[in-house]
């Protein structure tokens, strides 16, 4: 089944006056959802699969390390809680960025997008601190034991996703700074927001299952 059909009649004509701002309306779809948004949700569904596997892998192997420190000896729950707060607040900033993008409030949109990017960078800073603490102070490198390997694989994969999200936010911010009010691409911001919220949701699960269940 074709997902795209060329627009005809009222749907296209109604928004012909501002094609860039309303480009999502130019392609009605069989699903009733913008294709980019649908694609992002499909990606999110497959990412659920990926992170589900990585979390399962970690849970199976976390207590099987023969050599080196155990999870409860190295985790710093206080610092991880702070980074969780940070990521949650960046998610709030993201939803506000989308809100002001839809409201055509350029400065507020740019401000909250910058807050999202900064929040992501702070989270990555926390992760860098955690990893360097593990490696330098606890002598827990990637190949020290199977707990370390599965932990770094899971949290590193999540950190890579955050990095991609930060780059995406900075790209959106830069584009809006260059193009100004001519650029208001709500669908693009919404798709980026979906990605960012998903990264946040994954961390909600990781925080509970990996860090708070350390004695389970």
């Amino acid at each position: 089944m074709m997902l795209d059909t060329h627009h005809t009649g009222s749907a296209g004509a109604a928004h012909a006056e501002a094609p860039e701002a309303h480009e999502a309306h130019a392609h009605p779809t069989n699903t009733g959802v913008d294709n980019r948004k649908f694609a992002m949700w499909t990606l999110i569904a497959s990412e659920c699969f990926l992170f589900g596997t990585l979390i399962g892998n970690y849970l199976i192997h976390k207590n099987r390390g023969i050599d080196g420190p155990k999870p409860h000896e190295v985790y710093q729950i206080d610092i991880t809680t702070l980074s969780t707060f940070d990521l949650l607040m960046s998610s709030v900033a993201m939803v506000l960025a989308l809100y002001y993008c839809n409201a055509r409030r350029l400065r507020l949109f740019q401000f909250w997008t910058a807050v999202v990017a900064v929040g992501g960078l702070i989270f990555l800073g926390f992760q860098y601190f955690e990893f360097s603490h593990f490696v330098l102070k606890e002598d827990l490198g990637l190949s020290r034991n199977i707990f370390a390997s599965s932990f770094y694989l899971l949290t590193g994969c999540h950190g890579a996703h955050v990095t991609v999200g930060v780059i995406w936010m900075l790209a959106i911010l830069t584009t809006s700074l260059i193009k100004g009010e001519k650029w208001f691409n709500s669908t693009m911001v919404e798709v980026a927001g979906l990605y960012w919220h998903f990264v946040d949701v994954v961390w909600i699960i990781i925080f509970t299952v990996v860090y708070l269940f350390v004695y389970v």
């Binding site: 699969f49 023969i66 949701v201």
Partner: protein
């Protein structure tokens, strides 16, 4: 059909003001923070409040689920959006759960109980070369003999 879908795409894609207000988002932010703080508090004071491990797991999982639903439902606008998107997410979660269970069954053999440390005994590493007897020496001969 195309007009109907165009209208649907319009209503689902860009009617953001109908989704929520800044006040609502801020209230949710406060709730998310309080829940996270509560999770941390339970973890930190689990001994002093005398909570059993099972109850702690159930409580933390429930709180985590509440946060998950809040972010997916309101921040990701799944509550207001097209139903097919929710089905996509549920499908992904279902597949993830299946893989999770399969992985547990395949990789975690019954004879290996990691919590009791039996895995460590099974996979005990060989002694270091400097303390081990040479390969060509009979262990019986190498052992000291009684006077």
């Amino acid at each position: 059909m195309s007009n109907h879908n165009a209208a649907a795409a319009h209503s689902h894609g860009h009617d953001e003001k109908a989704h929520g207000t800044v006040t609502l988002y801020m209230i949710f932010a406060v709730i998310l923070c309080v829940i996270t703080y509560f999770e941390w508090w339970i973890f930190k004071h689990r001994a002093s409040i005398g909570i059993s491990q099972r109850l702690m797991v159930i409580t933390l999982l429930t709180l985590s689920l509440v946060k998950f639903v809040m972010v997916c439902g309101w921040y990701m606008h799944l509550r207001y959006d097209h139903k097919s998107l929710a089905k996509l997410l549920i499908g992904g979660m279902f597949l993830a759960s299946g893989t999770f269970l399969a992985l547990g069954i395949i990789v975690h053999p019954k004879e290996c109980d990691a919590r009791k440390g039996e895995c460590f005994k099974i996979q005990e590493p060989a002694p270091a070369p400097d303390t081990a007897a040479p390969a060509d020496t009979n262990p019986a001969e190498a052992a000291p003999t009684a006077p």
